[in-house]
Amino acid sequence: MSTDDATYEEGIYSVGKYPAAGMASLFEPDYKRVGQRRRPFGRWFRETGWRHIVGVLALLFALFPVWFVLLAAFSESASLSSQRLWPESLTLDQFRTVLDEYPFWRWFFNSLAISFVTSASTVLLAASAAFAFSRLRFKGRRGGLLALLLIQMFPAALAFVAIYLMVQRMAIFSTLGPGSMATIVLFYLGGALGANAWLIKGFFDTIPRSLDESAKIDGATHAQIFWRIILPLAMPVLAIIFLLAFIAAQAEFLIASVVLFGQDLSSPSKTVATGLQGLLAGDRYDLRWGPFAAGALLASIPVVLLFQFLQRFIVSGITAGAVKG
């Protein structure tokens, strides 16, 4: 995990120094003191030492669960009762169990497939709607934008009872209905517009109109402007929306469990989230702790990798959002 420190530092140290010390440094950034290499211990502790104590405590809090699940995954025992705080021997037994006795890879690839189709479609749907809102003029444009803003305040999950009833009825279509991955994707796409269309529209608005106008003069159609000018220029924001939608779909639990309601662990369409939850269902879940831990680690890999890739965008995105208000 490397954080791009430049995002944090920028702007802090460009201003001249001021004589804050002692208690002042508690809440204010201090500025590099030229020629002051060593401080007495007391002063060092008051100014920076205590920060390390807070930092170490924070790290213990942040990392303890990760350490806990790592130990369980590499432990020789599947039971939570033999969970240790320090490893005695490292084995891959739990990985073997979760891969051999449960259709873990199936869940894993189901989740990947659902997330991929969902995020790719989300980007297409949201980008084309954003193009209409940004570049075309039509009746109800402002009203539509406002409606999108209002609708996204009510997450689809709130209507899950109706979704459950709809899913039961959708069984008349051969590939849809209870336990169907395609059905999960359809309901995920119900929320594809909303915030995404707004975000992309904001980006489209920053692309100079002179570009499309000159293309139009050259005889380009609206479709050519959309596919060959606007979309390629908006690639960065589209990539972010794709990855964020991907991560969200990986972690989604409620709609997936409503569509997959009543499907047991051997069902071919479980996702990682519903599968791992099923592994820990029941009172004696502590007996399946090891396989769960191993599965959880494997399941985290795609998300952690994407996060690594996305980190600089997420960090600066959130920061920008916060600053912009």
Partner: protein, 545 residues
Amino acid sequence: MTEGHAAPGPGRAPSLEQQHASVLGGGRSGTISGWMIKILLLGAADAVAVAGLIMAIDHEAWGYVAVLGLTLVALNVVYLPRRFVPMKYLLPGLFFLTVFGIYPVLYTAYASTTNYGTGHVLSKSQAIDQIQGQSVQPVEGATRYDITPMKDASGLFAGFALFDPEGEQLFLGTDTELTELDLDDVQLTTLVTTGRTFVESAGDLTGVRAGDVGTLPGYPDPETYQMPGETEDAAITITGGQAVESRSTLVHDADANTITDVADSENPIVYHEREGTFVADDGTALRPGFTSQVGFDNYRTVFTSSEFRASFFRVLAWNFAFAVASVVVTFALGLLLAVVFNDARMRGRKIYRSLVIIPYALPGFMTALVWRGMFNETYGINKWLPSSLEVSWQSATIPAMITLILVNMWLGYPYMFLVSTGALQSVPTDLKEAAFVDGATGWKAFRKITFPLLLVSVSPLLVASFAFNFNNFTLIWLLTGGRPRDTGETAGKTDILLSWVYRVALDASPQRQGLAAALSVVIFLIVAVLSAIGFKYTKAYEDVK
């Protein structure tokens, strides 16, 4: 959708060849290949819609027929002509938004006025069919036919040949009709084992022996197979290798809306419809029941029945407390760490910062389950704690609530840390300098200047975080599942509204989806009010800015 794949790049005049192609493509705009892609995609979408339409018509699901028909028309009206350009870009998104986003909300409102739930799943006519099907009995003195499964020339199941040994008549029965066959064109044999008549062939149909029906394509389950009988309320059913005219003893009278049991013709029993079930005067009910309109009964149940009324306000209070506490603790810890790591003289800040946001990088459903194991009362962290500190993390109400907030703090503080770190940089330095010049201490400057300014920029995110946690079903469901829960109560002590709805709708016996939908509508209203307030609040803050 796409019209421009072999299109000229921006800033280049279309070549002669391309202009030529445009003419073929039906006008100045678009090229031949773009047009072909559009037609292919439109054709594929049309094919899917038509296939769905056929299946929907087949099942007489008229609601779906309407939706799919409309979609089909809209697709072709929007994409075939060159008009309606904005709609070309909006239609796909709008389709998913309306059908899978907005419709479920409206359907929730509708379902909240029904008694949908276990035993009330079917429509009324489906329920009547099932009720009658269960009481089918052979008509007294009816003909018993010898049956032979028949296959047609292509080898598919074609129906049962029914031979009447007394009347010397032969019929072909399918699930839709009963036709008499000409005996001249038929080969019959008598089976040695049973003495029954087997039809070797009839016209171009061939008889199939009992041992071969397993491989006969289209062969139905004879137990449930029904062929039309002589009268309308009768059917020919198969029992014990013979077919016999049967009739339900339960007679449905559509006008009186009753079902009458005529098994005992002296004392017929009349069942009246009551709350989605047919019930006799002595209280006997005919199963299954069906979905029926109950008006506002579900809302009345939520707000007046002893089972729900008391729980409702308790759950609502905890729901607010949980959301507020989650925002406060995550923001407090995130801000504290942001401030602590915001000092250039501190060594290893980079490492601290990247490690401290690890919880944000892991999937939340997974870490919630990990915490659940850690707080297992027998095998979790209690093992290492001195016995005086062993807490009933999951079976006692207050510890379970603290557990939830603690875990949510772990899940949420990295986000607040990132937000605060960014916001700290946006606080103008000259303001702080001025404060120090005026003699303010660090704490005072933070409290009076940095913090209020920071709050202005992060308040929309705090509101969003509140909204998210107000409906944070995943954490509640995976960590405590709403437990602890008193027997006889539908709501657990740590249930939020949404997880309560889930239990009422799905994770209980009997399931009560109608009632759960009414609860969902209440949540919708609460969220609407909160959003309106949030909107106003952030607007007010922007004005201040």
